[in-house]
Symmetry: C2
Subunit: 167 residues, 2 copies
Amino acid sequence: MEFEEAKHKFITTWGSLGSLWGINKAMAQIHALLLISPDPLSMEDIMEELHISRGNTSMNLRQLIDWGIVFKENKIGERKEYFTSEKDVQELARQIAKERSRRELQPTIKVLKEVSSIKTDGSKKSKELITQTKALHDLASNLDTFMNTIVNREQNWMTKTLLKLMK
Amino acid sequence: MEFEEAKHKFITTWGSLGSLWGINKAMAQIHALLLISPDPLSMEDIMEELHISRGNTSMNLRQLIDWGIVFKENKIGERKEYFTSEKDVQELARQIAKERSRRELQPTIKVLKEVSSIKTDGSKKSKELITQTKALHDLASNLDTFMNTIVNREQNWMTKTLLKLMK
DNA sequence: CTAAACTTTCAAAAAAAATTGAAATTTAAT
DNA sequence: ATTAAATTTCAATTTTTTTTGAAAGTTTAG
């Protein structure tokens, strides 16, 4: 496999992985492209490389910036904006963990808390609802705390810990 | 909040969480419903409760069974099939971790391996591609091993470990 | 201030995914 | 072997999501 083919394969794989995770294809592909670009890219560059429209590029770049994994850059003497991605994959993983906790896990935990806190009417059904949502609440809370722990530790802690656990 | 409202809230929350994770709404809602039902439900029960069609119910039940988190049950003297979900949330989490590893992580790791193994033509671009995909490969491999470790440990190991890590 | 370069917005179009429902198939009882 | 109950399949439809592209908006240079 030579360079162009490998690049294409990486971008499309990352793109379809993205859609499996609730991130749209264009967003994932833009991210993949920036991740392997040694230099910052302009909107034009991205549109051309991925064959997507200006509007699409603009919107998805904004989302990537919101996620905290893509950054704007300005070249001196140039009006155009350039974009780079977070290149350190550890930092990337932390950032994604942090955002997913905030956007998904925490709201879910809140609902589980509410639902599991109803008072039972004594029926089998309501007992089961309470038991199960309480168990999910505990699991989700543990996971969330775990993810936040990872996020706030120093660089490399994650890899070291994972490796230790796997022995 | 009383029972019916809580139940509804739980089912719809679980449903939209599902779609955020690449699992369709109906599938996630069926799972939620079974998770809190003290007794097995028939296809009719599910259709009625969630207002979805027979075909939809049938297809999504099959997928849940493929994931290993819903089971068929037969009541003696009855022709109809009944369904239950895995009730132990720890076991549920393991099963989901196992399937996601198999369906998503492992194929991705394979591609990352291929892509990061091309030989460089010496250009900055190809060096960057190799560096970054290799780093992702390592990260994904660690994560995969970690998930498989969890899956193969005894009951409760996961919670204990997570708690220990968070101290 | 004006014009050119560039970016954002958003209604409309296209594409993708989920859902329906009825026909086909399977299953099991008589 | 026939029938009836139940389940599965899948083409057609509906719904949701993504993408486009042109108009509106912004920014900077002269």
